[in-house]
């Protein structure tokens, strides 16, 4: 009897001890719970604030009535940056990233990667007719082309060896860089000539789109930067850099500091200055990132992946060859090509506004209209 009483007391004591233990756990849980709740509320508030303060990324659909508003005042960027130094001319081929000649299937093909465009292919870019730019510009202005244009922001002119510059920072694996290079090449071709361009693709994980590279790409390297191009112009400079990673994987990017470190190692003052400028502007939000004279374009020119423009895969462009893309650009008669020309028009208008309309292309009525409607010349 006494034994069982003692046992019972012991059990009660133990239970009390356990209860205290649970109470302590509950106490600490309470602190965790409340702090998590506070963090949650803060996260929601910060999220809402970020959404509200996010700059608009799309151009107005009715551009004739609503002109885009630049988010940075002119006054802050009135001073130009002057740099002298040699630009980077890459080598025409890379032993570690050879041209692949075998035919491969869409979605996982590297057919002709790093192959230079032949003369007739290069002529499509270098000698594109002004009439195509004019027509695309008018279509853009009357609203019959959509999904083209990004809200630009202001930047100081980077004047290298006496000429204003176009700066491009992208990645070979990135789908939008792949799309964007077509429009960029068309635009740059109006201010000068490419002596070489190379067939390329976005990464397998980013839909294996046919594109052009400015220089042979290190598509096998685990991490690198492909600097330079074969562009010549008497009006402007073209400073280009693409982050290189295994093309058979997905989209990859390194932080800006990586690009800066790589540019330092090239010893090219213009490239170092270009990256310094991007870094100082504090508006880099991924690739592609371009600066057209006095205008930063923080994104691609368009969402343009074929005549029908789905926001979901499959993307028609994924199933096109370089020859098909070039053929469409040579004789534009579909939405894909017109969007590329319209995107190029916006770039041309920004550059014309930055060089006081000194290049012949700037005299095109559509370009002048875009400059005024979009407020580039203000």
């Amino acid at each position: 009897m006494v034994d069982s009483k003692e046992n019972l007391e012991k059990e009660i004591k133990e239970e009390k001890k356990e209860e205290k233990k649970i109470e302590d756990i509950v106490k600490s849980l309470k602190i965790v719970s409340w702090s998590a709740l506070v963090i949650g509320v803060i996260a929601i508030i910060v999220g809402i604030l970020a959404i509200v303060s996010l700059p608009k990324t799309s151009a107005p659909t009715n551009v004739t009535t609503v002109a885009p508003v630049t988010t940075v005042s002119n006054a802050s960027f009135s001073k130009a940056i002057y740099v002298n130094g040699s630009l980077i001319t890459p080598s025409m081929s890379l032993p570690d990233a050879p041209v692949i000649t075998q035919n491969q299937s869409f979605g996982s093909r590297l057919t002709d990667i790093n192959e230079p465009l032949n003369a007739s292919e290069l002529a499509v870019i270098n000698n594109a007719s002004d009439s195509y730019f004019e027509q695309a510009g008018l279509m853009l202005l009357n609203g019959s082309i959509n999904d083209v244009g990004v809200q630009p922001q202001k930047a100081p002119l980077l004047i290298v060896n006496g000429k204003p510059s176009v700066i491009y920072l992208g990645a070979i694996s990135c789908i939008f860089c792949g799309e964007n290079r077509w429009a960029m090449a068309l635009a740059l071709g109006r201010f000068g000539k490419f002596n070489a361009l190379f067939k390329g693709y976005s990464s397998f994980g980013d839909y294996d789109l046919p594109t052009i590279y400015w220089a042979p790409a290190e598509y096998n390297i685990s991490s690198g930067v492909d600097f330079g191009n074969f562009y010549n112009s008497s009006y402007i400079n073209f400073i280009s850099m693409d982050y290189a990673s295994p093309i058979v994987q997905g989209f990859e990017l390194q932080p800006l500091s990586y690009f800066i470190q790589k540019a330092d190692s090239t010893g090219s003052a213009p490239y170092v200055a270009a990256l310094q400028l991007i870094s100082n502007l504090n508006n880099f939000q991924g690739t592609p990132y371009t600066i057209w004279g006095r205008f930063v374009v923080p994104g691609a020119d368009a969402v343009d992946f074929g005549n029908v423009n789905p926001s979901q895969p499959p993307l028609p462009l994924e199933y096109m060859t370089h020859e098909q893309v070039l053929s469409q650009l040579a004789h534009p008669n579909d939405m894909f090509a017109w969007r590329e020309y319209a995107g190029a028009d916006l770039y041309i208008a920004m550059m014309c506004a930055s060089i006081n309309n000194t290049a012949p292309i700037c005299a095109l009525p559509a370009i002048q209209k875009i400059e005024s409607v979009y407020g580039y010349n203000s």
């Binding site: 719970s33 998590a36 996260a43 910060v46 303060s53 990324t57 789908i175 500091s257 991924g286």
Partner: protein, 169 residues
């Protein structure tokens, strides 16, 4: 066993089922709102499946946390609820990172990071968002398991199991 029965018990209650449906709906809306801030993103099938799983698991966690909050005599379960919301916001935010990450970048600049610092973070999130989502889902599953254990003490089955353990002692 008690955990499975507790889960079944919670989801047979109409109010909790409604909370699950409503929670999933709101989380989907949050995801769509965040994703719409980036016009430069094309989501592949895997990302959409993962975000779907994240939404469902977070909603389940939210329901269990609410059940605990409602039934516990002492405040508990709030962490689960808060985590469910946070993980969904972050998951949606990371999925919105592709070649471009305008929302995340704006957020990072907003909290005072410069371009170099911000680019460290979003280049990481953009490159590894699939793995991050997967990690979130796994953590959600662990938390659901943990919270079900907590919740089971408020159900008949759980109490039976606890009593059974006491008597076998």
């Amino acid at each position: 066993m008690a955990k499975a029965k507790t889960l079944r018990y919670i989801f047979t209650k109409r109010s909790y089922l409604l909370e699950f449906v409503l929670g999933s709906f709101i989380y989907t809306l949050i995801y769509l709102a965040i994703i719409s801030t980036n016009k430069f993103i094309i989501l592949g099938g895997l990302s959409e499946v993962l975000i779907g799983l994240l939404i469902i698991s977070s909603s389940i966690l939210l329901v269990i946390a609410t059940f605990i909050i409602k039934n516990a005599s002492k405040p508990s379960g709030y962490a689960g609820g808060a985590y469910s919301v946070i993980v969904n916001l972050l998951g949606s935010l990371f999925v919105s990172c592709g070649c471009q990450a305008p929302l995340l970048a704006t957020l990072l600049y907003f909290i005072g990071l410069n371009a170099v610092e911000a680019s460290y973070l979003y280049s990481f999130f953009a490159s590894y968002n699939t793995f991050i989502l997967l990690a979130f889902i796994i953590i959600n599953i662990f938390l659901i398991y943990y919270y079900l254990g907590m919740a089971s003490q408020y159900t008949k089955e759980g109490k039976k199991e606890i009593l059974g353990k006491v008597f076998t002692k």
